[in-house]
Symmetry: C2
Subunit: 1007 residues, 2 copies
């Protein structure tokens, strides 16, 4: 093997490659940018209708990524190679893969994957859809169809390739550390950049003067605005200052000087500036009459297809045949494959029915690169059918002489039949003229040629993109279409692509074109290319492969359906491989390792089969997209990637663990929780105060109280650790880990972790009382505080996730059988707020939480009316509300329920109109029925208080039902004598009041 | 011819070329820099002992150069390609020329010249010596041996090549405007940069907010200092802020927001910061133990010469032979050739004499690439000689027995002879011992091998440079040495170069090596290469060529010996060529055009022979260094260069002329003249006040006074025009031009121009009275003001050129026959100063000006004593002092002068000791001699006043001389009688006082 290219040679090769493909070769920018996108050669040139093809190197500064050069491949400065192709040349993935070959990466030797990764820069008002390109698991390029920039939609869309040069060269040179890269000229990358890297880190994290940088930011912003306010606006000078704003903001952020609210403010300002710059640029180009409307170079653009002029004949068939539709796409996001397959399943079925096309079974398949519909024995023609239309009555249709009137002739003509073919039929007792048109079924190819474009268009994705001048939107670009009925092509065009009979093989094979002789031969053809078309088949195959590999090292793969589904949809040709990593990384918290493997790399972790989650093994399983060949090479690459990821995580943990959790607290003072509610540290102080109050309500033991108090103190500290800043989902996880490492009691550590629970629907609930209490305190504080400053969730907006918080409160109380008054809890939380909290606010928050109870109980399947009955009486205590609905439901299921309910209801209904409560002096009414009821009432009332359960209530009340029933038969309540009448009403009022505080039976159906 | 390379292709070719030659390929910097030097890959990496070879592109921002894209090749942003070779690879010029070939510039097709251009960046504390490289007159590269950076000397020295990419590509693509350059990718340079260029100009000149930028500068400076104050210092972050300081300063400067004093302050701060950064970098590298001490790549470094191991034998000759020393150098500055030739002339002569080497004529020659000494018939050996030393006397040398004493033996031994060889000779009447040692002459080759290095080392240049590890200093690097006696090499080494017999041909031929068979064959060999070795021959040849070409277009070349001398020393093979330029440029002021042609391009302008200076023709003559071949190509290139230069000048004039001169005055308020003396505008106000005062002393006409006043008002306005800011030497010239254009009277315009005169030694003096008066006012104001604030010139320091000012005053008064009192002038000037001016200051300034009179008269050849005699009496009036010394000299030349002087002197000398002036009452002394002298005195005194001229004085005094003579013979002055004695002394005192105020004869020799 020849010597791998040096860093500088790789750059020159890429530049030569893209120059040969018609790109302008451009230079890095004269300002510090976070990415090549910041260079006006991207951020501005992608705007507007003009064409633009460019390639340039961009040293990119991201202060937050600094690791003091201690990490083998994470630096505050890395080098991007940026390529912009505008418009989409039609085969950008192929061009890209060729460019990799130009520097020595052969797609046949390696596992090159396009893994969904969408890009968004809120600071620039820009976004796009695309992929990370993985080479043996290593992300080497960001490949994006740029949809919007500076807040403006791009038309045409630009293809943006962002190569990570260091990674590519490390890969080529087989280096484990970026610093060891052979730069060229006899120097290493470390020679060139290591010392400056450390210096930048020291500066960005420690030395940069916050006050001065804040001042600089203001000056940059003011100067940017001045440039924009100039007539005409000074686009580039303004842009330069926006870049300085951005970099200065990034440094301030690294210095920990930006709170949450401030951040939003900064972003808003930068987004606004970017948008103004973008608009000013567009106006400028318009004034200059878009000089780049014609292409600078033709070779990037696809030659106008000769095929475009072909107007193919629509074939005719006489026999049923297999139908094939293959939508060839650039790699779809995993989730979108499932979405598309499901929709196609429904839509095709509907389409066949609506179009009266007979068929045998049909199947829909999906892989990252193709969506396939196969229909067996599709009829060559639509079924024929008769269409009958009612016209005028015969009286109107014929004149006195029996001749057709104008009306009849008009109707016949309009219905497409001869007037003499009109038929007379009775309709609602009168004779009417009817046109009966018998329609022959259209030929299936003709029907499909019309319907297939509509079918494809009917597929809806969460996020869709445009890529060419048709401005059709789809999950990812459509690059070919196969539509065959038997061996004949169904001709149509969609998104600029013409249907044909050419499919393509796997990426690993170089996507070779292959002719599909006929639809029936498709499955075999695809199989011969090593593609597993069926999602379920792939899933099963992968599961089998990974289990076998795990067994090989006496381990097991924990069940993870989500990951399995995702991996299934990342490959067409799944080949699992077993890799290992240095056992010393096992000292890094397991959750971290697992998160990195699953979330970042889509690897399956391996555990000891006996102990499952607990004992992680130093192995992993990846699933490549490709054949078994060169699996060692691919494995080697993937191991290197994981090693680097783990090194990064280990770096964080090592750094974090150098400090006690308490030491992170001051940093929380710089993180704004909410403007009026203060910092996260302020929130911690409130949680610390609220915790003993809730503990007292729950009558915690001293030990639990102490643990809860300590946990309250430390519960948010990990938010300031680097590991959590890096992977937010590890909040609580790292808190527990670091607490244990610094010798906190297990119950304290657990409470820190548990106070976040439940984090998502279906998540675990806290187990320990300290965890429960701190969690309640945290959630109640958020609810009361944010309601008080009027940040009440609306239909779509719930930025502080208050629904989840309220639901969490309810779930914990209900599931943990804790009877507590929401009102008391809220009032306690209100005491510590830095803003006034009125009764109205408490009431709103209370209603909001009760709303979650309602939802929860509804989701559990309880009858809506019973839920209301329970909540109406006991909403304040979710646990008891739950008990109430359970018992009420049991009673409602009894055969005598209607009797019980209706008798009680009569007592209520007859007294409901009286607002006055009458005095009950039974001596006023000697009536026997009255006396009997009174006695029954007394006996029941003696057994019931508002604290009683529904069961207790009904057990006491049930015996009274016949008495009530008899009472209403025998006694006239509304007696003429006022004293008698009011005494009777008084008794009924008291009976009606019996379940007060227990259940509100008026909400129950049948009341 | 194939299509010329595009801009981006040229970059790639250069990068490939330098990568192949072992350079690191680096990227443009992430901050705005004024030049590639600002990139740390130069400014820092050149420091310290480490090796470093790098090549990179650098878009370089120089706000002041902005022309709103109106100029075809002057922009605020241009693109440099920077190459650093450290250490000197031994053949950097050759490598450089090869790199030009790599992009298609063939040295055989074009006139490629290395024209002295030294580089200095006060802001960076950096300097180096080297050249502009000219290609057919176009400066395409700055080639520098970098001597100092960040205030620190470089060791090893770094070779810095700075290619002007736009110019090279324009040249290759034959474009007249940078905007038309084919960039590649189907775009032009204008497509890429024109709009941003205009925007930057608007920003830099108009929109940048001075207050905010000033604030930014402060923040940058503070942050830079903080980085430097960090422990350890943060080198790169500090450097970045220094770069921002520098760019911000440049923008502020373009905005016209920086005064002179402020400027100095900014420079001092930036220099200090740069130096600190440099020091911090060096310390850092030392801590890191200089990782680049070994070479990154070997190919740039010259292979250790095999010749280094040869230890050649020193030859022996028996017959006289021709001697040749050729010092082969990289292109010497024109002036240095003359300097070296003159020194060699003296030094060689002295060397031959000291070394007792007999020879016939010797000649010294100089061209840009060689210094040559040729000696005819140099003896093969030194002359032998006898050395005789006197020892002790015989008495001491022999004892009583005639034996040698210790003293004699010691003397003999010390003198290197046997004691018995001592000789006895008489000396001053006694016999002494003498040692006589006869020394054989050493062989000439042996002597020369020792002396030639010393000879070369003896050559002293104003500015010398180091280039390799020997750290020898010379005007430019020495690259070969030929030293032959006859056909034998005189072996020696100097500056790492070993002498031999290989010379080199012309640059145009590719500097081919050629063996010199013997010293006598050298001249023919050199001639055969087309080299004109002799400076006078070249000068004559060039003069003939240019005259002939001028005649061809019926024009003439104005005499310009300085330019002719310079051009003579810029070439080895002179070939003059005639070019033309568009006649419309003749509307640009002639002085501007001529300055551009002469100073910038070393072209000879052509005028109508009849009208000389006045009527410039649209032609020019350049002298290429090379043969007649391809002269049309070279001419075409030179014409293009001049066109661009003229376009730039025309741009300035056009812009300047849009305003009235008055409108530039406010800008002068921002230019500090001197801190305590205010702005240049303040100075203008003083000149305006002083002008009428001097006018009154000279009794000007009303018309002249009006003209002078107007001229005083406008005299400095042009300092704020762009043309003068660009070419300072045009101050006054542009003032006159713009005054005429705006309709000022000719005498006003002329006075504006003339008030600067004389600008240099030998310059014209003002002709008009208004010009004289304003010039005096300007100069007197400077003298008085600056003396008052104690800025008195010292031996070496005269930053305000006060010597020239004072000399100018003297010259004008003397040459224009203006009798004025310096004291009165100074007092008048003092009145308007913003600082107190004491008598002491006036006296100092007065003495200073009188000192210039002394110098002037001395330079004119007047006897020093006579000058003193005149100045002592009449220094206050330079014109009269001049008259005095002229007349006095005539008297001193008369045969009777001694008689006159000695007799007068006796009168003075005898009375000098008496401080008291005695009363003269002749009645006290009846002596006849006394009476006669008294009568003579009375007759003379009646004819003489202090206003008389020396002629008048002596005409009156001469008859008295014999009377005085007789008096001293006959009369005893110091008579015993006190009254008599005092009367006689009183008379002599009065005679002694006769020339008071006319001349001080006591200063005259022989007094």
């Amino acid at each position: 093997m020849s010597k791998p290219l040096s860093f500088q040679q790789v750059i020159l090769r890429f530049q030569e490659f893209w120059a040969e493909h018609g790109c302008v070769i451009w230079q890095p920018y004269s300002e510090k940018v976070g990415a090549g996108t910041g260079n006006p050669a991207t951020s501005l040139r992608v705007l507007g209708p003009e064409l633009w093809n460019v390639c340039y190197v961009e040293p990119s500064y991201r202060p937050d990524d600094g690791r003091y050069a201690e990490n083998p491949n994470r630096m505050q400065m890395h080098t991007q190679l940026q390529v912009i192709l505008k418009p989409d040349p039609g085969d950008p993935q192929e061009l890209y893969l060729q460019s990799l070959e130009a520097v020595g990466i052969d797609r046949r030797q390696h596992d090159i994957r396009f893994v969904e990764d969408n890009w968004e820069s809120p600071a620039l008002g820009s976004w796009g859809l695309g992929w990370e390109v993985w080479c043996d698991g290593l992300e080497i390029t960001q490949f994006t169809y740029f949809q919007q920039a500076g807040g403006l939609p791009l038309d045409p869309v630009a293809v943006e390739l962002t190569y990570g040069l260091e990674r590519i060269v490390m890969f080529l040179q087989d280096k484990r550390s970026v610093w060891e890269i052979d730069w060229g000229g006899g120097r290493t990358y470390g020679d060139m950049y290591k010392t400056p890297e450390v210096e930048h880190c020291v500066y960005d994290f420690e030395a940069a003067d916050v006050e001065r940088l804040t001042e600089m930011y203001k000056l940059y912003e003011a100067e940017a605005r001045a440039c924009l306010g100039h007539e005409p606006p000074l686009v580039i000078p303004a842009h330069d200052y926006v870049l300085r704003c951005s970099h200065t903001f990034n440094v301030l952020d690294s210095r920990g000087a930006i709170g949450v609210t401030e951040r939003a403010g900064y972003f808003a300002k930068m987004r606004d500036l970017s948008r103004q710059v973008a608009l000013a640029y567009l106006e400028q180009r318009q004034r200059e009459e878009y000089p780049f409307l014609s292409s600078g170079a033709s070779s990037v653009e696809r030659e106008a297809k000769a095929t475009a002029d072909r107007r193919p004949q629509i074939p005719e068939l006489q026999q049923p045949a297999t139908f094939l539709l293959e939508i060839g796409v650039e790699e779809l996001p995993a989730q979108d494959i499932t979405v598309a397959v499901n929709q196609l399943q429904t839509e095709v079925s509907q389409l066949l029915e609506d179009a009266r096309l007979e068929h045998d079974e049909f199947r829909v398949y999906g892989t990252p690169r193709r969506l396939v519909v196969l229909i067996r024995n599709l009829a060559p023609y639509q079924k024929s059918y008769e269409r009958t239309t009612r016209g005028p009555s015969v009286k109107v249709g014929r004149d006195a002489f029996g001749n057709w009137t104008k009306a009849a002739e008009g109707f016949a003509s309009g219905s497409g039949v001869y007037v003499n073919d009109l038929q007379v039929q009775e309709y609602k007792g009168n004779n009417y003229l009817f046109a009966v048109k018998s329609e022959e079924g259209e030929s299936t190819p003709k029907v499909l040629a019309t319907l297939l474009p509509k079918l494809i268009a009917s597929i809806q994705f969460d996020k869709a993109m445009r890529w060419n001048s048709t401005n059709v939107a789809f999950s990812r670009p459509i690059r070919w279409l196969v539509a065959l009925l038997g061996e004949r092509v169904i001709p149509f065009e969609y998104a600029g692509v013409t249907s044909g009979n050419i499919t393509r093989g796997t990426r690993a094979d170089g996507s070779p074109e292959a002719q599909v002789a006929n639809a029936g031969a498709y499955l075999d053809l695809i199989k011969s290319h090593g593609i597993i078309l069926d999602m379920d088949e792939r899933r099963v195959m992968i599961k089998a492969q990974i289990d076998k590999l795990a067994e090989f090292v006496s381990g097991a793969v924990p069940v993870d359906p989500g990951l399995l589904d995702e991996v299934t949809n990342l490959v067409e040709q799944p080949t699992a491989l077993l890799g290992n990593f240095e056992p010393e990384y096992l000292s890094v918290p397991k959750d971290v390792l697992v998160t990195v493997m699953r979330k970042h790399q889509r690897y399956f972790p391996i555990v000891q089969p006996s102990s499952r989650e607990v004992s992680l093994q130093p192995y992993f399983i990846a699933v490549r997209n490709g054949p078994k060949e060169n699996l060692d090479v691919v494995t080697y690459g993937n191991e290197g990637v994981l090693r680097a990821r783990f090194a990064d995580a280990a770096y964080f943990v090592r750094h974090d663990a150098q400090k006690k959790l308490e030491e992170f607290l001051p940093r929380l003072g710089t993180l704004t929780f909410q403007k009026k509610l203060g910092s996260v540290l302020d929130k911690v102080h409130r949680i610390e105060q609220l915790t003993p109050r809730i503990a007292a309500m729950l009558n915690l033991s001293i030990a639990d109280l102490q643990a809860a108090s300590r946990a309250a103190h430390l519960c948010k500290a990990d938010l300031a650790t680097q590991m959590v800043v890096e992977i937010t989902s590890l909040q609580g996880v790292m808190g527990r880990e670091y607490a244990l490492r610094q010798g906190e009691a297990t119950r304290v550590a657990d409470a820190i972790f548990e106070h976040y629970l439940p984090r998502y629907a279906g998540d675990k609930l806290p187990e320990s009382l300290p965890g429960i209490v701190v969690g309640l305190a945290d959630k109640l504080d958020s609810l009361v505080g944010l309601f008080a400053v009027n940040l009440i969730p609306t239909g779509s907006a719930d930025p502080f996730a208050l629904r989840r918080a309220a639901l969490g409160i309810v779930q914990v109380l209900v599931e943990k059988n804790l009877s507590l008054s929401l009102r008391e809890l809220l009032k306690a939380a209100a005491e510590f707020q830095p803003v006034p909290v009125g009764d109205e606010t408490i009431a709103q928050a209370h209603d909001f939480i009760v709303g979650r109870s309602r939802g929860l109980l509804g989701d559990q399947g309880w009858r809506y009316d019973l839920v209301e009955a329970a909540l109406s009486a006991r909403g304040d205590d979710p646990y008891r509300a739950k008990q109430t609905v359970e018992q009420l439901a049991a009673w409602a299921a009894r055969p005598d329920w209607n009797d019980v309910l209706s008798n009680f209801a009569r007592c209520v209904r007859i007294t409901r109109e009286f607002t006055e409560t009458f005095p009950l002096d039974i001596s006023h009414d000697p009536d026997a029925g009255m006396q009997a009821l009174y006695q029954a009432y007394q006996s029941v009332a003696a057994r019931i208080t508002p604290q009683n359960s529904v069961d207790e209530f009904f057990s006491a009340f049930r015996p009274m039902v016949p008495v009530i029933s008899k009472f209403f038969v025998d006694v006239l309540v509304m007696a003429d004598d006022q004293a008698v009448r009011e005494t009777r009403l008084a008794l009924l009022q008291r009976i009606a009041a019996l379940p007060q505080g227990i259940v509100d039976l008026s909400k129950v159906e049948g009341f």
